[in-house]
């Protein structure tokens, strides 16, 4: 089969979407405190590892359209195990594209548990969650399951419109993040410690830029026609643009200053909101949708302080809230030229009801399933680090690395008293040199690679 332009675009789009996950690493990494920046970035990176493998082995089978499925919830994990038995020449392209979605959805969750999640638990959690939560939801919405036109929900109400993942990706990741926070608890000093503020806003803006760039592949990758591709591209520009201005307006009038972090966050909120709707709303609809999402998320990120759940990097405020806005807004704004019409276009409330119910269903499904996965992991092996490790910083205590040279400004803190805890080794004694020779040599510092920094800090 010849490699047509459409398939080439799918290849490129897949690479764009995969690039979003390292982009997310920067977006999140800049938003944490300096001593956990590497761990934050690693949680995104390692999701490519764990979910990438899982998707090749059985994930793709579970989400691919298949008669052999479990109550329209997920397909037989072994039907294409290891990607065998595919017949259509383009099948592997589609699997690759779908894999990148699974990866970033899992990576998105990590922002909720910054600074304190245990890395080993995260590595175990991610492929299990992708298997039991992501793949089923992807099958239900995109693979011919429950919410599709042949599924029970699609027959009873209306097939859910979720072009690129409002329910599957964003509501899903947002609610999973919230459940993880409730299971593993808040950071020490949540809401009081000023060191919880972001340490590198330029990283955040770089990450937002990479995300936006990749999002054109995310939304437009599955475009079927020229008209649809053009509409999706424009909507993926217009909605985040409006959302950025919406978020900045909230900040200007509420806090007095429009901030860089607000601009970057607004862009992501707008991208989240347009994701399910990108092929079904007009460009003007996208602007309206983006503006609502930007304002809603800007207002929602403060809720965690009111309710006391430490969703550290606002996965709930940005992805759940804007994901719900985008998913439900389709019920109002869907244009008849692209499919079923929304309420504002004379289509009645059928689609609106279907969209709202699908949002509610995915919230309940993901909440229950995430709890079932995370709670045993937390009980059996612990999903968070010890208090000492948290104080030292998860970069040093979990990875024996630090992102920066600490010490000068006092924000990194001295690691010396905790040397033994980090490395499991005694701190070396300083060699007593004869008087007159002013140089002292720490012995242990040269021998052990791990903990060297703490020796010399």
């Amino acid at each position: 089969m010849e490699l047509t332009a459409g398939l080439v675009w799918l290849l490129v789009a897949s690479a764009l979407v995969l690039f979003m996950t390292p982009g997310l690493a920067f977006f999140y990494g800049g938003m944490t405190r300096a001593k956990s920046a590497l761990n934050m970035m690693m949680m995104s990176f390692v999701a490519i590892g764990t979910v990438g493998i899982m998707w090749v082995l059985w994930g793709a089978s579970m989400a691919t359209s298949n008669e052999d499925n479990f109550f329209q919830i997920f397909a037989n994990p072994f039907s294409h195990f290891g990607l065998h038995n595919f017949t259509d020449p383009a099948d592997l392209l589609k699997v690759g594209y779908a894999a990148t979605f699974a990866i970033i959805t899992v990576a998105l969750i990590s922002g909720a548990v910054a600074d304190r999640a245990k890395f080993s638990a995260w590595v175990i959690f991610t492929p299990i969650w992708a298997t039991l939560v992501y793949a089923p939801l992807a099958f239900m919405v995109w693979g011919g399951g429950l919410f599709s036109k042949d599924g029970w929900f699609g027959q009873t109400f209306a097939p859910v419109i979720d072009f690129a993942g409002g329910t599957v990706v964003h509501i899903n990741a947002g609610i999973a993040g919230l459940i993880l926070v409730l299971v593993i608890g808040n950071r020490r000093g949540f809401g009081k410690d000023p060191n919880h503020r972001p340490h590198n806003i330029p990283f955040v803006m770089l990450g937002a830029a990479i995300l936006w760039f990749g999002w054109f592949g995310f939304n437009a990758g599955a475009a079927a026609t020229v008209e649809q591709a053009g509409l999706i591209w424009i909507n993926t520009l217009a909605a985040p643009a409006a959302a950025m201005l919406g978020w900045l307006a909230v900040e200007r009038f509420r806090d007095g200053h429009p901030t860089s972090l607000g601009a970057a966050s607004g862009v992501v909120a707008g991208l989240v909101a347009i994701t399910p709707a990108c092929a079904n709303v007009s460009p003007l609809g996208a602007i309206a949708l983006g503006a609502v999402a930007g304002v809603a998320s800007a207002l929602a990120v403060g809720l965690k302080f009111k309710f006391g759940y430490d969703d550290s990097l606002d996965v709930v405020g940005v992805h759940l809230v804007s994901g719900v806005v985008g998913t439900v807004a389709i019920g109002f704004l869907a244009t008849p030229s692209q499919g079923p019409a929304g309420l504002f276009y004379g289509g009645g409330s059928t689609q609106l009801v279907a969209q709202a119910l699908a949002a509610v269903f995915s919230i309940i499904f993901t909440a229950v399933m995430t709890f079932i996965i995370a709670f045993p992991i937390h009980k059996l092996m612990g999903f968070r680090v010890s208090q000492e490790q948290e104080v030292v910083g998860v970069d040093l205590s979990l990875h024996a690395e630090t992102a920066y040279e600490f010490g000068l400004s006092g924000r990194g803190g001295s690691f010396q008293p905790l040397h033994e805890l980090i490395t499991g080794k005694q701190l070396g004694e300083t060699v007593q040199v004869p008087a007159g020779d002013a140089v002292s040599v720490p012995t242990q510092g040269k021998k052990t690679a791990a903990g060297k920094e703490s020796v010399e800090a």
Binding site: R197, E251, T259, G302, G410
Partner: protein
């Protein structure tokens, strides 16, 4: 000999350097510092949440001087870094027992 140490606003570094150069000071050492005095900290806002930051960025300027010059240099630093608002910083002098120019081995006032 005296060591003059000034902990002042970072943005005043250029004014201090120009003032000291005009007075005839040959060298100085600058390092980054952080801390607070009566002005306490300041507030940063991220995603609508306020964070009270206690430790403000400051610079520490250190100058070696002869006993005769020390008071003048103190005045130069004060004049060039004063804004009249809380947070201007502190300057102090200390006695120095000995100073040696590493390259030549000159000692005392000759090393300054």
């Amino acid at each position: 000999m005296k060591l003059i140490t000034a902990i002042v606003r970072p943005e005043k570094l250029d004014a201090i350097r120009e003032g000291l150069e005009a007075y005839g000071v040959q060298g100085l050492t600058v390092s980054a510092a952080s801390g607070y005095g009566r002005q306490r900290g300041y507030t940063e806002v991220y995603r609508g949440a306020e964070y009270n930051v206690d430790l403000l960025p400051k610079i520490r300027v250190e100058v070696l001087a002869t006993d005769e010059q020390a008071d003048d240099i103190l005045d130069v630093i004060i004049a060039s870094s004063n804004t009249g608002r809380a947070g201007d910083g502190k300057v102090w002098t200390m006695d120095v027992f000995e100073a040696v120019r590493v390259r030549t081995g000159e000692r005392g006032a000759a090393a300054i």
